[in-house]
Amino acid sequence: MERLFKKLTQMSAGLLFVILAATTIVLYLSAKPAIEQFGVNFLFESRWGVEEQQAVPARALDVENLEARSSDESFIEEDEDFIDDDEDFVTDDDFESDEGSSNIVYGALVPIVGTIFSTLIAMLFSIPIAMGIAVFLAEIAHGSIAKPIGIAIELLASIPSIIYGMWGLFYFGPFIANIFGGNTVSLLVAGLVLGVMVIPFMAALSRDAISTVPEMLKESAYAMGATKLEVIKDVVFPYAKSGIIGSVILSFGRAMGETMAVAFVIGGVYQFVGSVTDPTNSIPVVLANSFAESSGLSLSVLFYLALILFMMSFLVIAVAKHYFLRRKK
């Protein structure tokens, strides 16, 4: 019995490893045809194959937007230094005809850029607000207010992401479009919805980090005559720094892999953004929208995308764990 039990626990723990390894291997094997065909260039290729007509509106839109896209590209240079290196690539290839259906080209650049930028917008929006909430709850608000609000924030962090997506589509999208102009589905809306989604998560984690600061440290600073701002800036933040940065990175990872909140509001169009109010695409959304209708090479391409996303999130978590979230012994 004793031995059996020990074996069982070992097997369960081993299963974790098996699942993770299997995920990586299966994704790689499934993506292999695409990897062989497109190689690393896949990452810098902006075209997404126009193949046999499918009922996916995104594809149809893509064809229509081919002309519009070449004019959009002039904007990219100003907006996004980030992809400057890839610029030659894009413009060189883009004027080749997409009609030659014998040679279908797939490229991940649009979804990758969309993913990164929507996540960055989300971070820009959510970090100040989440920090404000965390500081407010941990240091400013009186206990009788802070407690219920804290619980509410934690509960909100558990709301399914699809709810945020629906709200974004029906209320927030039109609201943003009214203010900034442009479409009700766009990169900006997607980023902001993501931001709203990670606020409770980030705020709860940061508040926990802040409340680990020993009272003693704060009190001695107050005793020296420091104001609240100085205490928070010079005592609390330095002490809780790694925890706070860790919470930001975890939120980053969460926003990056988020599907449902974005699927409603990003538009699902294989197109670079000319301005932030244009629709574009992100990796999880591509996966969610076109998986069921794909087969053969196009399916393999999707697995390639999934593998890229998996690696990206793996990297984020590895960085977070390695530098900031060392578990206390």
Partner: protein, 269 residues
């Protein structure tokens, strides 16, 4: 000057908190306003094909429930291994890291994985594929909570058990687990609340259907996938039904969370 800065800072921070809470309140408000108007008995008694949500709600609960039933033993046992048998070795740390990586892996990637190993070989979406996807999402959460809860068990209890000649198995099952039971249960409850609202991994593993089904080997009704489908339909009535589903889903998740919170508070006091 310092005092002014201080004042400004406090105002700014409070303002940020207000903005954040405003957005979150806005979401809850629209959710309730739209959800409650569509609430009627019909929603609970009809299947999706007749304008109700009965089959998809039951389906969602069955999928998440099955995932939980399979996930509990695996997750708890793995947690026991980490805390009771693994010791301080490299392997233990490695598995802890793996479980954390899995916990934050994008849920859609889990969906693609299950699609590759279940849906492609069998040729169609099935309830079991959905169960497997949610199981993969759930196990690392349970491992983490079990691990953390067992860490809180005083070493003296284990030593006392050992001293009277109990085997490690007996000590673990009858003393350690019993001590940490409430905490582990709360963790499982929260893990359930987390997976019950998942959409992305179910999109093309379980799919969703408009008909009543309890056969896990075929395409299975799912509430979250149905909400996604309904909300993107042009028909006003369908969208309304989607909102009602979203409202019910959120209420379910919030209530489970509150129960978990209540249980863990009661234990502490």
């Amino acid at each position: 000057m310092r005092l002014i800065m201080n004042r400004l800072f406090i105002i700014a921070s409070t303002f940020a908190a207000m903005v954040g809470l405003f957005f979150l309140g806005w979401i809850l408000f629209t959710l309730c306003a739209k959800g409650i108007t569509g609430l009627s008995l019909k929603v609970f008694t009809n299947d999706l094909i007749n304008g109700g949500l009965r089959n998809v709600m039951v389906g969602q609960l069955i999928i998440s429930g099955m995932a939980t039933v399979i996930g509990i033993p695996v997750g708890v046992l793995a947690g026991i291994y980490l805390q009771e048998y693994g010791g301080e070795s490299k392997t233990t740390e490695f598995i802890r890291d793996l479980s954390d990586v899995m916990m934050s892996a994008p849920s859609i990637v889990v969906g693609t994985f299950v699609y590759a190993i279940v849906v492609i070989p069998t040729g169609h979406t099935s309830g079991w594929a959905g169960v497997l996807a949610l199981f993969i999402l759930m196990v690392p959460i349970i491992v983490r909570t079990t691990d953390d809860m067992l860490k809180l068990v005083p070493i003296e209890l284990r030593e006392a058990g050992m001293a009277i000649g109990a085997s490690k198995y007996h000590v673990t099952m009858n003393i350690v687990i019993r001590y940490a039971k409430a905490g582990i249960l709360t963790g499982i409850l929260l893990a359930f609340a987390r997976v019950v609202g998942e959409t992305a991994p179910l999109l093309y593993t379980s799919g969703s259907t408009e008909f009543w089904s309890t056969d896990l080997t075929s395409t299975f009704p799912s509430l979250t996938v149905s909400i996604y489908n309904l909300a993107t339909m042009p028909d006003e009535e369908m969208v309304q039904l989607g909102w009602t589903g979203a409202f019910l889903l959120t209420m379910m998740v919030l209530i489970i969370n509150l129960i978990g919170r209540y249980a863990s508070n009661k234990k502490r006091s």
